[in-house]
């Protein structure tokens, strides 16, 4: 069974949550929602509460294991890092399920022909690598790009610094909780110095933190001419409604 771990930041924003649910509905994939009321614990870890993050993780992994989940899909890169790295490696928890980030899961479905992307999305965008999906996580660089490349009409340009060298959006490490104006300034800098020179009209990300932080920053630059997109949202736009079986 596929478990969908929304993550509390995604749950906080209705739009992101609806997009995710729409994706699964259009793909015709049933899922078990998990962890709706339980955070992955990364905020605890980043705040400095390691022991508590470990205990939180233990409860969470037990809970998910009891549900008979075989594949856990996370939409937030922070949750992804928690399940794929922190739980097994830092806290020594055995996770008897496979953890995939949403972009990996979507790439698999596209490759196996389970979903068809037919409606064109006529935009020219650049992809922002979230730190926790990339260099600070499992280095998931290929799948999000594959997904974006398979959307008809969508043109992608790389920023000067990408993948391992991608610059941070400024929203990580709980800085947004302490210094939100600094987080926004970093995002503005990214939009101006990295995204704008590529000649695109928007930035797409696959992390709720990056998404909101970049969005907020982009609004302050060039009268908000640079749009910010969530990767799942573009995907859903391009997907057909499921055919009746």
């Amino acid at each position: 069974m596929i478990g969908l771990y929304f993550g509390c930041t995604v749950l906080l924003f209705e739009g992101l949550r609806n997009t995710l649910e729409a994706f699964f509905r259009k793909a015709g994939v049933t899922f078990e929602p998990v962890g709706i009321d339980q955070c992955c614990g990364i905020p605890l870890l980043l705040a400095g509460f390691q022991k508590e993050a470990g205990e939180n993780g233990k409860r969470l992994v037990e809970d998910i294991s009891h549900k008979g989940i075989s594949t856990l899909v996370t939409s937030c890169p922070h949750c992804h890092r928690a399940f794929s790295r922190e739980f097994p490696h830092r806290f020594g928890l055995s996770t008897p399920f496979k953890t995939l980030h949403f972009t990996q899961f979507a790439a698999d479905l596209i490759q196996s022909g389970r979903i068809r992307l037919s409606k064109p999305v006529d935009l020219k965008l650049t992809y922002h690598d979230p730190c926790y999906l990339g260099r600070m996580g499992e280095k998931i660089y290929r799948e999000p790009r594959e997904v974006l490349a398979s959307i008809p009409g969508l043109k992608m340009e790389e920023m000067e610094h990408n993948r391992d060298q991608a610059t941070c959006c400024g929203g990580g490490g709980l800085v947004r909780a302490y210094l939100p104006i600094l987080s926004s300034a970093v995002a503005q800098e990214k939009v101006q110095c990295e995204a704008r020179p590529t000649g695109v009209t928007g930035v797409v990300s696959s992390c709720p933190f990056c998404y909101f932080n970049l969005k907020e920053g982009a609004e302050e630059v060039d009268k908000g001419e640079m749009e910010v997109y969530d990767l799942a949202e573009l995907l859903v736009r391009s997907m057909e409604e499921p055919r009746d079986e």
Binding site: L44, L46, G48, C131, R135, A166, Y178
Partner: protein, 420 residues
């Protein structure tokens, strides 16, 4: 600790001040762009540096795991060459040693050195009745401003030329134009006099080598050469982590540090292995011919030996201060050295917590790092700053040194199951 919340709000004000500073932002943008170009050029031109930095990483690890042995070797080698080596366990001891060597009513010229700032050198020397001049142009400007350095290698990265002209005009007693060449010329004339009048020249060190007892100094301006050569006494204040096993390792560090800092080759590398001497008149040894008759090295521990005992934390002692991490950071190019104490930026967090400043000072800095890990990608020593900062935050949280809202978020996760 007295009022941890206050430290966070004060720091926030400073950071937000920097965020709003348009001039600072555009200066930093320029600095980042030119740094990247220069570094990439330098690394492409000398591809063997990639191999060298890996060897250097091993050498640093070797030194840090055998620190006492290395200190002893350096002491013996330097002693053989006539260098007086002093060991300072703490800042207070360092200052005491310094006072004994310097005394009072001396004119002192200084080369740029953060380690000396750990000792609060300039203030201490002034309080003990001496006159001190910074001679690195950037540091000289910062000293006149009464401010603090904003970057390891470009201390006045945030100061526009007009402000420099104003400062120098006041000093000159005449109007100087905001022309970098003319301003530099003024500094040259002004400081030249000081170099020759000075009783003591002070420096830090980029490396000291255990086999030969040598002090390595890298620079472009030539001020360090003057400061360590013209006055009759040279004092180098050196952190223990600067020891390398051999002279050859020292030359390797010169290449790695300068290329990663964005220089093809630094204009000057000084290797000082003892006082100036001659035996040219009847083989009678006379000290202090054209260079100093006395050379002192003050080795500063100030917490380094303890850090070196921790396999994870000791990475921070392998920092060669090339400054690459700061230019490649997400936050530093917005806020510069305002994000710092004696040591700045992300790498400055462990240095502040463990060596110069303490936990309370370091805590607001720690929660200013986005933990994005980009610094490590560009660090020649591959220092794992994000993991280290995460670990330091654990200690800070234990001490109650964390931002109020972050604490609330953590509590919400524990009680409600989510962070909001």
């Amino acid at each position: 600790m007295n009022n941890p919340g206050r430290r966070f709000t004060d720091f926030k004000k400073i950071i937000y001040g920097a965020v709003d500073d348009e001039a600072l932002r555009s200066a930093l943008r320029k600095a980042v762009r030119s740094f990247r170009e220069n570094r990439d050029k330098a690394l492409n031109q000398f591809p063997h540096v990639e191999e060298q930095r890996k060897i250097l990483m091993e050498k640093k690890e070797e030194v840090l795991t055998h620190l006492d042995e290395m200190i002893e070797k350096f002491g013996a080698a330097a002693g053989r060459m006539g260098i007086k080596v002093h060991m300072a366990e703490t800042v207070q001891q360092g200052q005491k040693i310094l006072k004994e060597i310097v005394g009072s009513k001396k004119l002192i010229v200084k080369g740029k050195s953060i380690t000396s700032e750990e000792l609060g050198l300039n203030d201490f020397l002034k309080e003990t009745g001496n006159e001190v001049f910074e001679t690195d142009l950037g540091e000289f400007i910062v000293q006149l401003l009464g401010g603090k350095p904003m970057h390891l290698l470009a201390p006045a990265v945030n100061v526009p030329r007009e402000r420099v002209a104003q400062l120098f005009s006041e000093l000159a007693g005449r109007e100087l134009p905001p022309d970098p060449a003319k301003l530099t010329r003024f500094a040259r004339d002004f400081l030249r006099e000081k170099f020759f009048q000075a009783d003591i020249g002070m420096s830090g060190a980029n490396a000291i080598t255990a086999d030969t007892g040598s002090i390595f100094l890298i620079e472009n301006e030539g001020n360090i050469r003057f400061a360590t050569n013209a006055p009759p006494v040279h004092i180098a204040v050196v952190g223990l982590e600067k020891i390398l096993p051999t002279l050859a390792d020292g030359t390797m560090l010169v290449e790695v540090a300068s290329r990663y800092a964005g220089y093809y080759t630094p204009s000057y590398v000084s290797i000082i292995s003892g006082p100036s001497k001659t035996g040219d008149i009847e083989k009678v040894i006379v000290w202090g011919v054209h260079g100093p008759r006395e050379v002192h090295v003050i080795l500063l521990d100030n917490g380094r030996r303890e850090v070196a005992r921790d396999p994870m934390l000791r990475q921070v002692l392998s920092c060669i201060r090339c400054g690459a991490c700061m230019y490649e950071c997400a936050v530093y190019p917005i806020v510069s050295g305002y994000w710092g104490h004696t040591y700045m930026g992300g790498i400055g967090i462990p240095w502040t917590a463990l060596i110069a400043g303490g936990w309370e000072v370091a805590a607001p800095m720690a929660y200013t790092c986005t933990l994005c890990g980009r610094c490590r990608e560009f660090c020649p020593m591959e220092i794992g700053t994000p993991e280290i900062v995460e670990r330091l935050r654990e200690e800070m949280a234990k001490r109650g040194c964390l931002p109020e809202y972050v604490k609330e978020m953590a509590q919400k996760v524990l009680t409600k199951g989510n962070a909001y």
